[in-house]
């Protein structure tokens, strides 16, 4: 079984939940930008949360299914369709062999995830299938997906949603989806300005009081030089007393750094493992998915939470994810 890429889209990469355990060798984690969205899509098709899927950016690809395939789409709305019929998101979709799934431009958010039962089965590199483009690691030969690629899909032990499959094979539109959808809250993706929660970092107190107020009270715009490595934020500059002696130290997904020009940078999935700019805060991990859905030009502001609140939000999210897994399992034999 394989996915045949008929059109590549702007930036389509193989991603899982990242390459953990090699940061001490300087290897960035990479992985899905909106990791929660990938986990949800994987869960719907019966995969493990860390199986590899495709991350589709801003304008999606066209994919033809070599055999009957069970898929789910999550994250950004890229207007998925087969022929002229829209394909719904956040639910299992059986595709008949030969169906061509096409994506268009992003309507909501910027990164969609396509999970296929069995997962994209490229070789693991340092424990992960994630593509890290800058060093050419993982995915398809370390690069983005191209037109003409044939992406192997892993074997599936027991097919899920058997009745749905029968409906799909008999359908004129070549696919079928149920009426239910996984309950996540895509409407949050549309807020403008987007609101991202953050925990103050080590150098927060070094900011003059006026800059701290501006950080929390003003809007920022995602700059054009923003990518999987990090977002440059524009429109609100902060003042940081000059420090010469900062030494690089570990950074995390969502670390907010302040370089000398006063425009903050938010580090994202492909961030380097260490950084030397003052760290004024870190995004609450539960909001990383919302951050991942921003695109250049989008507006956002920050809302302060305590470390304890941020960790509580994370634990609550994990409980909700466990419940979602259970709920989806209840449908799998239908």
């Amino acid at each position: 079984m394989a996915l045949n890429v008929r059109r590549a889209g702007v930036l389509t990469t193989v991603q899982d939940l990242g390459r953990h355990g090699y940061q001490r060798h300087g290897v960035p984690v990479a992985g899905a930008m909106d990791a929660y969205a990938l986990r949800v899509a994987n869960t719907i098709v019966g995969n493990e949360p860390g199986d590899a899927g495709l991350e589709l950016t801003l304008e999606g690809p066209a994919i033809e299914f070599e055999e009957d395939a069970l898929i789910a789409i999550s994250g950004a709305d890229l207007g998925a369709h087969v022929a002229d019929t829209p394909v719904p998101m956040l639910r299992p979709v059986w595709m008949a062999a030969g169906a061509q799934l096409e994506f268009g431009a992003a309507r909501k958010g910027s990164r969609a995830y396509l999970a296929t039962a069995g997962g994209v089965d490229v070789p693991r590199v340092l424990g992960s299938r994630s593509t890290y483009l800058r060093a050419g690691l993982g995915g398809i030969e370390g690069r983005a997906v191209r037109r003409g690629d044939r992406l192997p899909v892993g074997a599936v032990a027991a097919p899920c949603y058997p009745k749905l499959k029968a409906v799909a094979l008999a359908s004129k539109s070549r696919f079928a989806a149920p009426h239910w959808a996984a309950s996540v809250h895509p409407e949050k993706m549309e807020r403008s300005p987007q609101v991202l929660r953050f925990v103050p970092g080590r150098y927060w107190e070094w900011l003059p009081a006026e800059s701290r107020t501006r950080f929390m009270g003003s809007e920022f715009r995602v700059g054009p030089e923003s990518d999987r490595m990090g977002y440059r934020l524009l429109d609100t500059r902060l003042d940081m007393p000059k420090r010469e002696d900062l030494l690089s130290e570990g950074v995390a997904f969502g670390t907010i750094q302040l370089p000398p020009d006063g425009n903050p940078i938010v580090l994202m999935a492909d961030r380097q493992v260490t950084g030397g700019y003052p760290r004024i805060g870190d995004l609450a991990s539960v909001d990383l998915g919302l951050a991942a859905q921003l695109k250049p030009g989008d507006r956002l502001r920050f809302e302060r939470v305590s470390l304890t609140q941020a960790q509580q939000l994370w634990v609550t999210q994990e409980r909700a994810y466990a419940e979602l897994r259970e709920a989806v399992r209840g449908h799998m034999n239908e």
Partner: protein, 244 residues
């Protein structure tokens, strides 16, 4: 100062899924030794939920899953539970001598097409090219930290005579194996990458190979010396590499 109260470590959150263990605030052998000791101890008996250990100049970053200590945390914030775990793991820690790491003698062909900035760097330092090479290859360097790129290590103890800021205009492509200096450090580009350091030579050795375990040749704590080789030796070694 009482030496008996265990190591001087402090803990600070790094967002909600990581924390920093700080071993000092300046780069000296005591701090470096403590960073190495913390890294070794945690690597050997990691608390549950640790996903990455990242030693740097004066600190060690630990990435963890806040949900992993669930039962143990018993209402305490996961960060506090993890710090408590680490305190009991590290209380009797002693600094490891930073001079007990592995030592690598890395071959380098200096200057010419293999080190395009050697002449300009020599001029900026007010030295001859030969003198720059002598100074650079006389020193034993210490790998303080990874970062920047897979397999890259910041090598410290660069002779102050070779201290220059980065190039004004970074190169879009620096060949892999390039040996470079900037800001008081020397280092080797493990892959073809963009970069702003001054290129003074090139090694045929492979600093990073995802097919190897571990993938990086150098780790924090290692020592490095550079051994000058002739261009012909580089070419022969590079050919041998590509045959493998």
């Amino acid at each position: 100062m009482a030496e008996s109260d265990g190591p001087h470590l402090s803990f600070a959150p790094l967002g909600d899924r990581a924390l920093l263990i700080e071993a000092g605030d300046k780069v000296d052998p005591a701090t470096t030794g403590l960073v190495a000791a913390v890294t070794a101890r945690i690597s050997n008996s990691p608390p549950p939920g640790i996903t990455d250990i990242v030693p740097a100049f004066c600190s060690v970053a630990l990435h963890y899953d806040p949900d992993a200590l669930g039962e143990e945390a018993e209402g305490a914030a996961p960060y506090d539970a993890m710090v408590a775990r680490l305190q009991s793991l590290l209380f009797d820690l002693e600094a490891i001598s930073p001079f007990e790491g592995r030592t690598f003698d890395i071959p380098v062909v200096y200057g010419g097409e293999h080190g395009e900035d050697l002449a300009a760097l020599a001029q900026a330092c007010g030295l001859s090219e030969d003198r720059v090479i002598e100074i650079h290859s006389a020193q034993t360097y210490f790998a303080f930290s990874t970062g920047f790129a897979p397999g890259f290590a910041y090598l410290g103890n660069l002779d102050p005579q070779l201290r220059q800021p980065r190039r004004d205009k970074p190169r879009v492509r620096v060949p892999s194996g390039s040996v470079a200096v900037a800001n008081g450090f020397t280092g080797i580009y493990p892959l073809e990458l963009p970069g702003g350091w001054h290129l003074i030579g090139r090694t045929p050795w492979s600093l990073f190979d995802a097919g190897r375990n571990p993938p990086a040749l150098l780790e924090a704590g290692d020592r490095v010396r550079f051994r000058r080789i002739a261009a012909a030796e580089f070419d022969a070694a590079a050919r041998a590499q590509s045959w493998r």
